[in-house]
Amino acid sequence: MTPTTPQELAGSLRAAAEKKQTIGLRGASTKRRMAAAGREPAIAISTTSLNQILQYEPKDLTISVQAGLRWADLRALLAANRQMIPLDPPYAQQATVGGVVAANTSGPRRRWFGTARDLVIGMTFIPIDGLAVQTGGMVVKNVAGLDMGKLLIGSMGTLAAIASVNFKLAPLPEATRTFVFSDRNPEPVFARRDEILKSVLQPSSLDLVNPAAAAKIGIDGWSLLVRAGGSQRVLDRYSRELPAAQVCEGPAESKLWESIEEFTPSYLAEFPAARVVRVSSTLREVRAVAGTLPGPVVSRAGNGVTYGYLPPETRWSPPAEWQACYEYGGGDDAWLNSGDDLPLMRRVKQMLDPDGLLNPGRYYGRF
């Protein structure tokens, strides 16, 4: 089913709920295996025909769009006004806004700009009872009522269907420049990261890759990728502060970052049965995490979020003390060690979807 209005979307949900049919909520279906593939639903509802721009006043630096709008189209529209939502999600060409938000995908610029939880200012979502719920609004600062949107971000479509999303926007930087530090050993690269973290520099991205990942994106050895934005004068300051780096600008820079942002899609295209581990750690622990993971490693080294790529034949699994999950390929054990708040999460799920009909099993196999 591909409803063309929020009312039709609500109607489809309600109809399926009455028949107790399991429902697969879909955007562009780019991340079908993310978190957990889940069980095959009885019916699929796609938001791809809900693709309108609802409100956009560039001078307010906000936009409201329907969930089925393609991320690439949204990005192009904003770029025409020299604005952006700096989320850099994977599958950027095909993914929908709703899918990006429901999966809480993000990319390298989260170091400075944050993730969907920082950039989404409002949302309309439709639970399985078909009654649309509005949360937040169209202003950048708003504490009226519970921030329910936070629950939907990253919920993998297991709580409700996202019908529309409101974002705050940022101006596009005048220019960007990327500095790449590479070494055969990880220590000098991590030392450089630590220096930058403690410095006055404010890079938008601070990613670190191991040699196996570097080889896939056309660089060598352990590498730190630092991206700065601003005027030529500002970028020249970065050049002075970051000597001994390979400088990357223009089309080569765009290509480099695209290969980082699309690392997961490319890897899974090459090895469809691969597992992708996502590790949440402190900044300091990134060193140990990156050194332990077999296979390619891409780390948001300024956030402590590290992605490890495990080829299909690898039997390795993460140490029990890590805060980790299988972002891809994990099945029902995808979330390795949940905390004492899991019962509360289950109660939220139970409240919104008592019969467990929405995207069954897709929440890391837990619901």
Binding site: K59, G145, K150, Q202, S280, R284, Q350
Partner: protein
């Protein structure tokens, strides 16, 4: 009334750290807002375990309970409007951990906001949320209300800086949400609890993000002969892709009150001023100063002053942050509102506020976070005159209705509290409110925590909704 045996248990749990004399209760009947109600007892626990035990007693005896930080809130969030127990976090005020390598701190809820920044500023870090009350307000209160401040324009509000919580649920269960790291799998309960105004859980520990201080800071005072020109500068700055750290606006009435009280150097004869702060790398700040200068000139600023040194800068901010105190010199009572409008709507909204003031015969002054459209009209009144408070509250409601009509919100940072409970219906559909009620009830099925706040009572049903207990196993 709290039964005697319950009271005995409570005081025992609190290790005799409690107050219950009527004269002491007077100190806990108010916060920074206009409402008042007396608690029956104030407890001063020091641990989450004590709080859990207190909650279990309260639940057994159905005694309403609420947490209290410094009581600086402006929407009545800390008013015990149904009496009962106030749990003060005054003795849970330790900074437990500072880990600058990881840009994190773990604090107890009673830590004063500014004290965290003071603890790390020598090493060039800071805690970004900076409410004007930051010298007194607590981080627990900031989390409960999702507090903002002038610099949230650049750095985001409290929720953007909270990574994990330890919380005690009304049944005494202690849960941990989020953590030191980011992107833990799991629904974002940290984000849901932040800003829930103490209605779902009591927060006993907060993991926050610390940020590296910027290299350079420039503070600018732009002076205008008309309010419209001043207001229009805000969207002009946005249109020019400049991203200041703070853009504060003071209108003429406010300026004169602030200047008389603080001698910060604000012009006495202007119609309005903008206080603009730029932060970042030296080069970026220098360029932005020129870009802001152009934007101000395009909007006919009469004068453009850059603070010459730290002292001048601090004086300007002192004027801004102590503005509410300055009002006392002019008006015995005032009522601060907190609405938000899209940035392009600031000028028309200020005109609407002026109109509302004239209609009700009250002076309304404005000092607010213009950069994010967060209006703070200050309604001057005299509570000794019969009907004046009602008039002021009515004017506040009219202003908020205007904010809603132009696509805004009824609170940007002060919270709904008890002040705006009924206005929630103007902003949200019944379905949206019902969803909030259901979520609240999931955490607090008996409606024990901070009753009468945040959510209007449902149509035809009581606020308290008993939900069937969920068998966790059925979810697998």
């Amino acid at each position: 009334m709290i039964p005697a045996d319950a009271k005995r248990k409570l005081t025992e749990i609190a290790g005799n750290a409690f107050l219950d004399r009527p004269e002491d209760m007077r100190l806990y009947e108010y916060d920074g807002g206009v409402d008042k109600a007396l608690p029956e007892i104030v407890l001063f626990p020091e641990t989450a375990a004590q709080i859990a035990a207190i909650l279990r007693v309260a639940l057994d005896h159905r005694i309403p309970l609420l947490g209290r930080g410094a009581g600086t809130g402006l929407s009545g969030g800390a008013i015990p409007c149904r009496g009962g127990i106030v749990v003060s976090f005054a003795r849970m005020n330790r900074i437990l951990e500072i880990d600058l390598d990881n840009e994190r701190a773990v604090v107890e809820p009673g830590v004063v906001n500014l004290d965290l920044t003071l603890a790390v500023q020598g090493r060039k870090y800071f805690f970004a949320p900076d409410p004007s009350s930051q010298r007194a307000c607590t981080i627990g209160g900031n989390v409960a209300e999702n507090a903002g401040g002038p610099h949230t324009l650049a750095y985001g509000v409290t929720t953007n800086h909270v990574l994990g919580l330890e919380a005690v649920l009304p049944d005494g269960a202690i849960v941990h949400t989020g953590g030191m790291g980011q992107d833990h799998p799991g629904l974002d309960l940290t984000g849901l609890l932040t800003g829930s105004e103490g209605t779902m859980a009591l927060i006993t520990k907060v993991t926050v993000r610390l940020m590296r201080q910027p290299e350079a800071v420039k503070t600018i005072l732009a002076i205008y002969d008309t309010v419209d020109d001043c207001a229009n500068t805000v969207s002009e700055i946005t249109a020019r892709a400049i991203t200041p750290a703070a853009v504060e606006m003071l209108d003429g009435v406010m300026l004169r009150m602030v200047e008389e009280a603080t001698h910060a150097g604000y012009p006495m004869d202007a119609a309005a001023v903008l206080l603009i702060e730029l932060e970042g790398l030296q080069e970026a700040v220098e360029e932005q100063v020129e870009q802001v200068r152009d934007a101000c000139a395009a909007c006919h600023a009469r004068e453009f002053r850059i603070a010459r040194h730290a002292q001048e800068r601090e004086l300007l901010w002192k004027g801004r942050k102590n503005a509410f105190g300055a009002i006392g010199r002019v008006s015995p009572f005032y009522y601060v509102q907190d609405g938000v409008v899209p940035r392009t709507q600031i000028a028309p909204t200020l005109r609407a506020i002026g109109g509302i003031g004239s209609r009700c015969g009250l002076t309304i002054s404005n000092i607010f976070h213009a950069g994010d459209g967060n209006m703070h009209p200050i309604i001057l009144f005299d509570a000794r005159k019969p009907g004046d408070l009602k008039k002021a509250q009515r004017a506040g409601e009219d202003i908020l209705d205007h904010c809603i009509s132009v696509g805004g919100s009824i609170t940007g940072e002060h919270g709904i509290g008890m002040e705006k409970v009924e206005l929630m219906r103007h902003l949200y559909s019944e379905e949206s409110l019902e969803m909030m009620r259901r979520l609240k009830s999931l955490f607090d099925p008996d409606g024990m925590l901070n009753p009468g706040k945040l959510l209007p009572t449902g149509k035809g049903c009581t606020e308290i909704r008993q939900l069937p207990l969920v068998n966790e196993k059925t979810m697998l």
